[in-house]
């Protein structure tokens, strides 16, 4: 129908890329960074076609990332977000109505479902256009879509279809009749105008009502035989009101399908966007920040208040919140070396940084108050896999092979994440080997995070930043802790404890006064 070309919310005009891929393999670092678990959790709550490939493919062009970020910025508007949510849900309902129609054999019932499906589609298109006009979006993607929608709706074929669908639904809904059920007979006739016993009952006892009562939900699942009876009753009505049913039949015959391919494409993009926004919503509601990363061509890493988003989802569900971390690489700094006690949150921190690069390169709002980084050409990870049952010697051999391979791919736009290398060998050997690896990463000019129990690595080179993961002495079961340059400041024991429970003087006073 509509003439002008529109490639999608994310696709840059002129074939410059940015669109969501239909197919994309899972990157090799997904399991190490637990991005596989994250993406599973994100798509778990959403129906429809598999969205995983959309979460697999990084963008490396800052302009394409920014086009997506602009769409997400528009979606920060509550009204616009609920409008596109309604758009997505409405299209799902429309598809369901077409499916229902094809399952039903009875003529007038099947036609009714087709009619409903067309009407739903028209409503969805109308509603989303109106909502977009109201919200006046700023992103190129949304504005181009709105322009396309205007043309599409103005098309005379679309307008005629919309009007007729609405009229037919209204006429069918307005039919009123009386059924008399007596013995084994049902008689349909015009409305009788007698007293309404339901209303009389409610009115008589209304004076006792002082709040909502439960009522009773009857379990009236209609069986297949019920379908048959409803059809018999409908046949009576077709005899009483033949004309409107005939018009409905002709209408659905003229409109076997309705959806435009552009609508399919946008729906998929919005499903992707909403899946992420819905996933982070409870975390955001708990007061944790999300931001659009500054992405530029120059190598950069500056992060304020970031956190592990998957862990945060689990924690906020039980009213807890994760610790957030700040980190920045100075001008001549390349690699973050993280040391600290076991269970101190080192690995979580390394994963969080890795995830941040990936999520930023998808154009998504990412966990953190401020994030600036470069879209990497490669994300290379090496995580100790403790669950391997192999012999120690072959395990080490396998590890050496993998690390050596990784180093050949590292360049000055790559991100390297190394977690507890060579733990299956002696300390002296591990120190020597790890130092070599770290030097190779530095020489390649890659940005990196290296989690290690070898303190010497943190003093290897001026380009290395030493970070220490803290541990809570009172409760070693807590899973996330702050990671900071140097050693954390030791607060007085009692005060630290009080702070942990929100009971310092300031905290407590604020909590009590909040209940005024």
């Amino acid at each position: 129908m509509a003439a002008h070309h529109f490639g999608g919310l994310f696709a840059r005009p002129g074939g410059l890329g940015g669109e969501l891929p239909e197919q994309a393999p899972q990157p090799g670092y997904f399991a190490d960074l637990q991005l596989d678990l994250l993406v599973d959790a994100v798509v778990a709550e959403h129906e429809g076609p598999d969205l995983r490939p959309a979460f697999h493919a990084r963008l490396d062009d800052p302009a394409a990332i920014e086009r997506r970020q602009a769409v997400f910025t528009d979606l920060a508007d509550d009204r616009l977000r609920s409008a596109v949510r309604a758009f997505r849900d409405g299209l799902g309902r429309c598809a369901g109505q077409f499916r229902a129609a094809s399952r039903i054999r009875h003529e007038q019932r099947s036609q009714r479902w087709r009619l409903n499906a067309v009407a739903t589609y028209v409503e969805v298109i109308d509603a989303v256009t109106v909502a977009l006009e109201d919200a006046a979006p700023a992103s190129a993607g949304m504005r181009e879509w709105l322009a396309w929608l205007r043309e599409y709706r103005a098309d005379p074929d679309f307008a005629a279809m919309a009007a007729e669908a609405r009229t037919l639904i209204a006429e069918l809904g307005d039919l009123r009749y009386t059924l008399s059920i007596s013995g084994d007979e049902i008689t349909a006739g015009p409305p009788a105008g007698q007293d309404d016993l339901n209303a009389a009952t409610v009115a008589t006892f209304e004076r006792f009502a002082s709040g909502e009562v439960a009522g009773h939900d009857f379990d009236l699942r209609p069986g297949a035989e019920m379908d048959h009876l409803h059809q018999a009753v409908l046949d009576l009505l077709v005899r009483l009101f033949p004309e409107v049913f005939e018009r409905a039949a002709r209408f659905v015959g003229r409109h076997p399908t309705v959806r435009h391919p552009v609508i399919d494409g946008v729906e998929r993009e919005l499903r992707f966007a909403l899946a992420w926004l819905d996933f982070i919503a409870p975390v955001r509601a708990a007061g944790l920040p999300f931001c659009f990363p500054e992405v530029g061509p120059g190598r950069r890493l500056e992060v304020v208040e970031t956190f592990d988003v998957l862990l945060a989802r689990t924690l906020v569900a039980t009213g807890e919140r994760p610790v957030t971390n700040d980190v920045a690489l100075g001008r001549d700094e390349l690699v973050l070396v993280v040391t600290g006690p076991n269970q101190g949150g080192k690995t979580t921190f390394a994963r969080t940084i890795g995830q941040l690069y990936h999520l930023a390169a998808l154009g998504l709002p990412v966990p953190g108050g401020f994030v600036a980084l470069h879209p990497p050409d490669a994300i290379l990870t090496h995580f100790e896999r403790g669950d391997r049952p192999d012999e120690l010697s072959s395990r080490l051999e396998d590890e050496v092979t993998r690390v050596a391979e990784l180093l050949t791919e590292a360049g000055d736009r790559s991100l390297v994440i190394l977690n507890e290398m060579f733990s299956s060998t002696t300390f002296v050997d591990a120190r020597t080997m790890s130092s070599d690896v770290l030097r190779a990463v530095l020489d390649a000019g890659s940005a990196g995070v290296c989690v290690t129990f070898i303190d010497e690595l943190s003093r290897l080179d001026p380009r290395v930043v030493s970070l220490v993961a803290g541990i809570d002495e009172q409760d070693a079961t807590r899973r996330t802790f702050r990671v900071a340059r140097g050693r954390a400041d030791g607060e007085a024991h009692a005060r630290a404890l009080a702070a942990k429970y929100g009971l310092t003087q300031e905290q407590l006073r604020a909590r009590i006064e909040a209940h005024a």
Partner: protein
């Protein structure tokens, strides 16, 4: 329609299930710490319904002082007319029994059976509503409280004979015969829906059947003889048609029944008060209706304040204390072990709970500002958590209290934060006490932490506080009475320790 015996404004507290009484988090612990169960047992006198009502009212979020006055008025009427509360309680109980009898007779919840059950229930309610009106007419001139006068006026006005007759007439119409006439419209799948039962017109029915299509167009479908599926479907359609009416009837029965259950709950509370009143006065113990001022007004004065829970277990008079803590928001209690400190703490807590509930209190005189809640932080001797230390447990419990405490709440601390060394415990407790009193809360703190007590004493000009001390045994005699005195450095715990280890 609400009895309104507990709440002057019937809208207040109509949210929660029984009669609108929300129980704050930690209420069970408060009950346990204060030994409330002894008081509740006396109120119940063996009746579980009375126990539940007493417990619910005493532990719910305290109402506004205006509601307290409302309840004190109703309570005064009930004390003057002891049979009144019992009559209301017993009548409401009969209504609820009739309802459960009707429920027991129904095994399948089809619309038709539930409609019939509701008709039976509502029919059995009619004479009881008439009886309630008789009670109202009998007592109306004999009560003076706004609560009861308003309730009786409502009953006489809204449950008049004409209304009760119209109820009986409607219930007659609801007994439908085999023929249904329903209005309907098309649902989203062209199936008939939105059924509304029409009042049967008995004379017209025969005519209608004999004249299909005579004046108005109509069409008839007949389920074939022997078509079992068709007959099942027809009875399902009847169910669908009746579901709306059955739902209206079920809801109606629930509305009336929730009126009776509110009446039973509210009258149960006053019957409980009568029982407790008799139990205490039979022992010669005094009770008094307290004076409750607005929240935040810092009133707190007591004469002859005793622990009713202790008194109910004793034959001689329980120890009583006088307190003049008006204008302060901290009472710091120090001194000897087994010197009556915990008993005092319980007497304060129970008096505040009972005053807030609108009851009399165990004292000869009692004046307080209204509290937004009574909270306890008592040391837990039996605590045996392995995963975290005892101090952790105390802090976690304190943090949970901070989740619910407001500026006008009362916190009773019994030897809190003594599970660590004195320095650390005092430090933590001091910050907590300072923060709470600064926020407007009132704290009564029983402690052996001398640094804490001394700190509060040194700061008494900036933060006014009352300091009470328990005396050790002297010459084989123990008074258990507290007296006003500054904290003392030596711990009387030492003598206990000494005795335990060097007998």
């Amino acid at each position: 329609m609400r009895p309104g015996l507990l709440f002057a404004d019937p809208r207040e507290g109509s949210g929660a299930a029984a009669a609108g009484t929300e129980r704050p988090a930690g209420a069970e612990r408060v009950a346990e710490d204060l030994g409330l169960s002894v008081v509740i047992e006396a109120m119940a006198d063996g009746d579980a319904v009375l126990a539940e009502a007493a417990r619910t009212v005493l532990l719910s979020v305290p109402p506004h002082p205006a509601q307290v006055a409302h309840r004190q008025g109703v309570l005064a009427d009930c004390l003057r007319e002891p049979q009144l509360g019992r009559e209301l309680y017993e009548l409401a109980g009969r209504a609820l029994d009739a309802e459960s009898r009707a429920a027991r007779a129904v095994f399948f919840d089809t619309p038709e059976t539930l409609l019939n059950r509701s008709i039976v229930t509502l029919t059995s309610f009619v004479p009881l509503l008439r009886e309630l009106r008789a009670v109202a007419e009998r007592y109306r001139q004999r009560v003076t409280s706004a609560g009861l006068r308003q309730f009786f006026a409502t009953v006489e006005g809204r449950l008049d004979e004409a209304y009760l007759n119209s109820v009986t007439e409607l219930l007659g119409h609801l007994k439908l015969g085999g023929n249904l006439v329903v209005s309907a419209r098309l649902g989203t799948g062209n199936q008939s829906a939105a059924f509304v039962i029409q009042r049967p017109q008995r004379q017209a029915r025969g005519l209608f059947r004999r004249s299909p299509g005579a004046k108005q167009p109509s069409a008839t479908y007949k389920v074939a003889y022997g078509d079992e599926a068709g007959h099942r479907a027809l009875s399902s359609l009847r169910d669908q048609a009746l579901a709306g009416l059955a739902d209206a009837a079920v809801r109606s029965a629930q509305h009336v029944s929730s009126f009776f259950s509110a009446l039973r709950f509210e009258s149960a509370f006053y019957v409980g008060c009568l029982h407790l009143h008799r139990a205490l006065t039979d022992r010669g113990a005094p009770v008094v209706l307290p004076v409750v001022h607005d929240p935040g007004s810092r009133h707190f004065t007591a004469r002859g304040l005793y622990d009713p829970g202790l008194q109910l277990r004793l034959d001689q008079p329980a120890v009583a204390n006088d307190v003049d803590a008006g204008g302060t928001s901290l009472i710091m209690v120090t001194g000897a072990n087994r010197g009556g400190k915990s008993t005092f703490l319980r007497s304060v807590g129970l008096a505040e709970l009972m005053a807030a509930a609108g009851m009399f209190v165990a004292a000869t005189a009692f004046t307080t500002s209204a509290r937004s809640g009574v909270h306890t932080h008592f040391t837990q001797d039996e605590d045996a958590t392995l995963t975290s230390g005892k101090l952790d447990e105390e802090l976690r419990r304190m943090s949970r209290l901070a989740d619910v405490m407001g500026p006008h709440s009362l916190l009773l601390c019994n030897e809190s934060f003594q599970s660590t060394n004195e320095r650390e415990g005092s430090d933590i407790a001091r910050h907590i006490v300072d923060a709470l009193t600064a926020a407007g809360a009132t704290v009564v703190f029983v402690t052996h932490l001398h640094e804490l007590a001394q700190h509060c004493y040194d700061e008494r000009d900036r933060y006014p506080a009352l300091f009470l001390r328990a005396e050790p045994e002297a010459g084989g005699h123990r008074s258990y009475r507290l007296h006003e005195a500054p904290p003392e450095a030596t711990s009387h715990g030492a003598d206990l320790w000494h005795r335990a280890h060097h007998p």
